[in-house]
């Protein structure tokens, strides 16, 4: 991912299932400040909820960082604003990322649409996971 200018940053610690609420409301508010409409806020909040749920359920707790980002446009072109979500845990990690990114694949009893869903909800998506070390997921959505 190309680096972007960060103008605001919110950290949400995730340990208990009730912590998800703060991540969702913070994401909504930040997306609102970035100028996203109701639908955009909903998409971003849902993606954050998805990642936060994973961290709490499978990652043994972690943190999600929400960022208001800006990218400069080409010469003479306006730049664009967006939201960046960085979700990180130091849990058991994902053994097979390719499979985790497939629809309807789940090691738990979930629908198995979470990670691929996040990728579809957002514009940019990056995931890296090492078994025994943890999982890092970065996703971005730009305002149109």
């Amino acid at each position: 991912m190309t680096p972007a200018h960060v103008s605001e940053e919110v950290h949400v610690e995730l340990n208990l299932s009730t912590d998800n609420a703060l991540a969702i409301t913070s994401a909504r508010r930040l997306a609102g400040r970035a100028g996203f409409d109701e639908a955009g806020q909903s998409l971003i909040a849902t993606a954050v909820s998805e990642l936060a749920t994973n961290i709490i359920r499978y990652g043994g707790g972690g943190e999600v960082v929400l960022r208001l980002i800006h990218e400069q446009g080409e010469v003479g072109q306006p730049g664009r604003d967006g939201v960046e979500v960085v979700a990180e845990d130091h849990g058991p990690g994902i053994r097979n990322i390719e499979r985790a990114m497939q629809d309807h694949f789940s090691t738990g009893k979930s629908l198995g649409l979470g990670l691929p869903g996040v990728k579809r909800l957002m514009d940019e998506f990056f995931i890296n996971s090492k078994p025994g070390v943890g999982t890092l997921c970065i996703a971005r959505k730009w305002r149109r």
Binding site: T18, E38, T46, S49, L111, R120
Partner: protein, 268 residues
Amino acid sequence: MTAKNPVLTALDADLSVRVLNQIPTPVMAVDKDFKIVFMNEAGCSLLGLPLGEITQYKCSELMNSLHCGTPECRMNQAMQSGARATARNEVNIDGRAVPIEYTAAPLKDEAGNIIGGVEYVIDITSRVRDEQKLREQSRTIMEISTPAISLWEGIVVLPVVGVVDSMRAQQMMNTMLAKIKETSSKIIILDIQGVAAVDTAVANHLIKITKATKLMGCRCLISGISPAVAETLVQLGIDLGDVATNATLKDSLGDAFELLHYEVRKTK
């Protein structure tokens, strides 16, 4: 050089001890074998022993903490790695368990060799209590925000507001099933307009709830699917299957009346 002056050095040492004794929280130093070499006054009074006696013990003998003797011990980690380390722990003094947070740092001699460790301890009893209270309060908020309303003969509405996690979903399930039994309702409307984020976990819960209500001979209608939620569900790839959904509670109520063969008429 002032540092070489033995009188000033002694004064410095004396001053350092007095400073440490003014700190209202335990500060302790140990050698590499974890034998206590210093404890400030706050630590001595916590343990209820004079310094002269305390220095005869290893720290684990007096603290009896959950980390003592385990790889979790931050004092050990600080001495091994040379870096500061902080953690939550629980000490056991006179049979009383006290939640603490402690920070350990390596203790070095003039040449920079690690000769032991130093740590300070903060009693976090009130913080732990506050956290507990906060958790209980959020649970209470969840409980009071899951009401099931008998809207009409045979029709129950459950407005869902806020965040749905698995605990909340379980609560909704229980509330609904109990209400169905109590009122012999044939239709239950789950209004999700106020749900903060309908993600795959929430959708999964909703599907399960509709299945359970079906088993009890009750139809479940989901209302409050806003354009934003509809788009999100499609993007996520969620198939709500044969669950009847509507944009508004009004629409679902209209459907419910129709299914129960009610007719709403204006008489004048």
